[in-house]
């Protein structure tokens, strides 16, 4: 019950802060609209208002603040507006029987999800194989690990267009493959780091014990190192799938893609429809939450089955 209240308090605080921010964020747009509607505002000219801070504008035009909570194109929409837009582009589309229409976030989410999952599978594979190589070979450890770290310092936004150009040069049709690669690029790293730690987690005495059995390297890997790494793997996978989703969305941003949540965000920006951007952002956040939660459930079930459930 105490936990419930804590969760509720944080949620409430976020919503309250959000509502408080809507006023100052939208005051200029509100006053522009009021001016156009012929209502009295101070200062009267839009250009003069640019020189005045939002706080003074709010103080001088207190009766227009409320207008900011119901704009068509607000700079910051209210939670209710975002919720309505989300509903319009998801639930309502389903009711209309067109869940896969180009205007539906379900369609765009599905496009993003596919790339995310491919990127996740690819990144996880690369991460696990890389970790095995690093753990078993000092040479690989010293030659590969620095590059793995460097790879994560390169801004993915800069890299994404290059990957797309490169893949079209190589004659790869469509955006699915390059998006998955960008996504895998972000996803492999947490898996690699986590698995290296996990595969190295057995104590020296555990490895000594296997030596006294004259166990082969493969047996030591399968019976000790791999099972020891499972808790580490799941922690990494949860970070990895969120990173994969971010990678996919970034891959959809700068590339003129027309479908996917990233494309919705970009298009919303270009066409000046902030509600569409916010709805896409929330759809992405919800998608990430669902994916991480699913992995969390798989983790709990697996660890409990392995006798390591907390």
């Amino acid at each position: 019950m105490k936990q419930f209240f804590a969760v509720l308090t944080v949620l409430l605080a976020i919503v309250v802060l959000w509502y408080l921010a809507v006023g100052p964020m939208n005051i200029r747009t509100s006053l522009d609209q009021a001016e156009r509607a012929g209502e009295a505002v101070t200062p009267e000219a839009s250009r003069d208002r640019q020189q005045v801070s939002v706080w003074i504008l709010m103080a001088q035009n207190s009766d227009h603040i409320i207008r900011g909570y119901d704009l068509d194109r607000p700079r910051l929409p209210t939670p209710v507006q975002v919720g309505e837009e989300l509903w319009k582009t998801t639930g309502e589309m389903v009711i209309k029987g067109r869940p896969m229409s180009k205007r539906s976030l379900i369609y765009h989410g599905w496009i993003t999800l596919q790339s995310t999952l491919w990127g996740f599978v690819l990144g996880t594979l690369v991460g696990i194989l890389g970790a095995v190589a690093i753990v078993y070979s000092r040479v690989v450890d010293m030659s590969l690990m620095p590059w793995a770290i460097i790879s994560q310092t390169v801004p993915i936004v800069a890299l994404a267009p290059m990957i797309i150009v490169l893949s079209s040069q190589l004659g790869i049709e469509g955006r699915g493959v390059p998006k998955a690669i960008i996504s895998a690029y972000l996803c492999y790293f947490p898996v690699l780091v986590g698995m290296v730690k996990g595969l190295r987690s057995p104590a020296v005495s555990q490895l000594d014990l296997l030596k006294t059995y004259n166990a082969t390297g493969l047996q030591a890997f399968l019976k000790l190192r791999l099972p020891s790494s499972v808790p580490y793997l799941f922690t990494s996978l949860k970070v990895g799938i969120a990173a994969a989703l971010v990678g996919t969305i970034v891959g959809e941003l700068p590339t003129g893609a027309i479908s996917g949540l990233g494309a919705r965000i970009l298009i919303g920006d270009q066409f000046g429809t902030p509600l569409a951007i916010w709805a896409a952002l929330f759809a992405a956040a919800i998608l990430a939450g669902v994916l991480v939660t699913l992995l969390d459930i798989v983790q709990r079930v697996t660890l409990r089955r392995m006798g390591m459930g907390a």
Partner: protein, 265 residues
């Protein structure tokens, strides 16, 4: 292995030397160690930290390589003996795999050594009974007390047919009451299985109570200062520890330890 002649010692060390190269210079872990262990002996190694008792046990197990002298196990080099699975090793930490049940933990060496499934079942049943854990095979390690976990780890070392059991402070982390109980059980187990046991300990009463041969060691460099053949009978109830013979041996061990220590001061 039972067909081997009884005259051959199970473990024989001659002028054994081991020097570790560390960043702080060489450490002389073992110096001129001479020791013969016969079949069926229960040998305790006792001494302060750094006296090389664990190192010597690890040499027998081929987990360390001596830098001088000779060491044979069952007439072979330690590494050959290891590859022939001549011994079971029990570490201070039970080291059971948390993702395996007790039965599956005991099966670990059997799986690695390629025993058939039926044989594995049979052996698990047998050793669980031997360490008094029947009925606990399906439990996970965390469901067992520390003493029970250590018994399971002994069962794991007994599951395959090694006639040597090497134990590195197996009861070091347990409280004294549990320890007494396990010592009694270990003696019973030793009597039933007729294994040769090498046992590292910090505790004088434990060493005297368990052993047929007590090896007193001292540090810097790690060496043997005294080897005591115990006159105590094989049958040892716990109250044997109040007899004059017991107290006399304990005295001798304590004197040996003190003599070794005087070099430090």
């Amino acid at each position: 292995m039972n067909t081997e002649s009884t005259t051959q010692p199970v473990i024989e060390a001659r002028q054994l030397d081991l020097t570790f190269q560390t960043n702080d210079g060489p450490i002389h872990a073992l110096k001129d160690v001479n020791l013969t262990i016969d079949k069926g002996d229960f040998v305790s190694f006792i001494g302060p930290s750094g006296c090389g008792k664990t190192t010597f046990l690890r040499c027998i197990a081929a987990l360390e390589t001596p830098t001088g002298g000779s060491l044979t196990v069952n007439g072979m080099t330690p590494d050959e003996a290891r590859r022939n699975r001549a011994y079971g090793y029990v570490f201070q930490a039970a080291g059971l795999y948390p993702w395996r049940t007790i039965a599956k933990n005991i099966k670990l060496p059997l799986e690695i050594m390629g025993y058939s499934a039926a044989e594995q079942e049979e052996r698990v049943r047998k050793v669980l009974e031997l360490v008094d854990l029947d009925g606990f095979g399906g439990k996970f390690p965390w469901q067992l007390s520390g003493g029970m976990q250590q018994r399971a780890s002994i069962a794991r070392a007994l599951a395959f047919d090694a006639d040597i059991l090497l134990m590195d402070e197996p009861f070091g982390a347990l409280d004294e009451i549990v320890r007494d109980h396990l010592n009694e059980q270990l003696l019973a187990l030793w009597a039933r299985t007729e294994k040769t046991i090498g046992f590292v300990t910090h505790s004088i009463p434990e060493a005297v109570y368990l052993s047929t041969k007590i090896v007193v060691m001292s540090p810097r460099p790690g060496r043997i200062t005294d080897v005591i053949d115990s006159p105590l009978p094989k049958e040892r109830p716990l109250d044997i520890r109040d007899t004059p013979e017991f107290i006399e041996i304990a005295h001798r061990v304590r004197d040996g330890l003190r003599a070794g220590h005087s070099y430090d001061d």
